[in-house]
């Protein structure tokens, strides 16, 4: 039984709101870098960067942050393919990094991402934006910008479809 919880217009509105919240929290500071966590976080990061650049233009950059090698479940899971990490050539030092992912669940991916960023340099600030927060945290981690809080049970699956990957924008629970 699959239930659609966010449609394309819902997702567009949520991202637009997050973009405004980010601009507001920046208070005119420069050096904003969106780092998407593969796969879908990368595309969400690109969309957010475009939206933010439309609101308050200067100096918005986008990159990809692969956290695979920093995960804490590598020894118990089968091998995951790595993805190239791409950061702006100017580096992350002194910037505001906005980590972007599709779903926040246990918090373990975010923990790995924080370690991965530390290996790249020292941003002034790191914030975390997610499209969906489904609860059930296993670590003391929270998101700064949330598209939608989705109360779920642990047995449910949250499926995020993003047009760039899945040909449609939709969030459903199965």
């Amino acid at each position: 039984m699959t239930r659609v919880v966010l449609t394309k217009p819902d997702i567009d509105r949520a991202l637009m709101r997050i973009a405004h919240e980010i601009v507001e929290s920046q208070r005119g500071r420069f050096g904003l870098i969106f780092l998407g966590i593969p796969t879908r976080g990368v595309h969400l990061a690109r969309r957010l960067a475009r939206l933010v650049a439309d609101i308050e233009p200067p100096d918005v950059q986008v990159g990809t942050l692969d956290v695979t090698m920093y995960r804490d479940d590598l020894a118990t899971q089968s091998t995951r393919a790595t993805v190239a990490t791409e950061i702006p050539s100017s580096g992350v030092d002194g910037s505001t990094v906005i980590l972007v992912d599709d779903v926040l669940f246990s918090g373990r991916t975010a923990r790995a991402a924080l370690d991965a960023i530390t290996a790249l340099g020292r941003p002034d600030v790191v914030r975390f934006a997610v499209l969906v927060d489904r609860g059930h945290r296993e670590l003391p981690i929270r998101a700064d910008f949330i598209g939608k809080n989705l109360p779920t049970s642990t047995s449910e699956r949250v499926n995020v479809s993003i047009a760039e990957v899945d040909d449609l924008d939709e969030v459903s629970i199965a």
């Binding site: 020894a75 089968s78 190239a84």
Partner: protein, 313 residues
């Protein structure tokens, strides 16, 4: 994949995945923090029953870059001189906590014997067994070819359409065997150029064409010429009349390099006998990938350690 013993069993898809992971490992080597926490708390034991510089150092660097602890065992100064068996040596290392055993041995087939025996639970990586195989060398060579010849389009691609000539002491070369097998799996065409005496008996099963001199091979205008070390230490009888004749017919020199397309590359697994199988000026030319191969070796071995780690069965 729990162990890496031979290039023979490797299929194309997981091999390309290892090469792709290695690209990301190259990237790590350029970062501010050049280490990953991936193997933290794991121990990699380098067990070398035969001399080696680059393979041992390369595995060490790879393990350290993934935050593993490294112990290195060499036969000099060990209890092997008191008659300790391979089984007891390996079990001793595992009892001390080795999760990975990187094994080099002068006898062909030792690595697969160790895996089949069930002596140890650790991941076994064959770092060269006699004249049999050296799979991580084949992987790093494939990686080097792919990044040099495909450039921007390397990720995800195999070696289809690439022509490779392997020249020289093929009989004694585990590098040649592993390369010939892996290159074929990845879709490259392989031609071997060697004196009859330096071709192994089961050469037909390699799926490679054979020519008798390097000049014939150069006429094929290959993308890659892979020269091999003449293994003087394994030569107990006369395999060719003289070293100068070998150099004349199978040595890579300037005039042969000039006959190759400018985009072609010349490889050598090291250590080189400069002036014998490869001239000094070819080894130092921009078309030579000798030092690149060494640098890529670390990244490829990181990718191998990471890939094996995910399979504990």
């Amino acid at each position: 994949m729990k162990h890496l013993i031979s290039a023979r069993g490797l299929e194309a898809t997981p091999t390309v995945a290892i090469l792709d992971t290695a690209m990301d490992m190259v990237d790590v080597r350029t970062r501010e923090v050049k280490k990953l926490p991936t193997l933290r708390g794991k121990t990699v034991a380098n067990v070398f029953f035969e001399d080696s510089t680059r393979t041992r150092l390369s595995f060490e660097a790879a393990a350290l870059a993934l935050s593993a602890d490294v112990t290195t065992f060499t036969t000099q100064g060990s209890s092997v001189s008191k008659g300790e068996s391979l089984k007891d040596t390996l079990q001793t290392l595992e009892a001390m906590g080795a999760d990975f055993i990187v094994l080099r041995h002068p006898h062909s087939g030792v690595a697969s014997t160790v895996v089949n025996s069930g002596w140890v639970d650790a991941h076994i990586i064959n770092a060269g067994d006699g004249t049999h195989e050296h799979p991580t060398q084949a992987l790093l060579d494939a990686f080097t070819m792919r990044s040099r010849l495909r450039g921007e389009n390397a990720r995800g691609s195999d070696l289809a359409g690439i022509s490779v000539v392997i020249v020289g002491d093929i009989f004694h070369s585990r590098v040649a065997r592993s390369n010939a097998l892996l290159l074929r799996t990845l879709g490259a065409t392989v031609t071997l150029a060697a004196p009859q005496t330096l071709l192994p008996r089961e050469i037909d099963s390699w799926g490679a064409a054979i020519v008798s001199t390097l000049d014939e091979a150069i006429d094929l205008q290959p993308d890659v010429v892979m020269t091999l070390r003449v293994q003087r230490e394994r030569m107990t009888s006369g395999f060719f009349p003289s070293e100068s004749e070998f150099t004349q017919l199978w040595g890579m020199n300037d005039s042969r390099l000039r006959r190759l397309p400018p985009t072609s590359i010349v490889m050598h697994p090291g250590p080189m006998n400069r002036g014998l199988e490869i001239s000094g000026s070819v080894a130092d030319s921009p078309q030579s990938t000798v030092t690149e191969q060494v640098a890529n070796g670390v990244a490829v071995r990181m990718a191998v350690l990471y890939t094996l780690m995910g399979d504990s069965r």
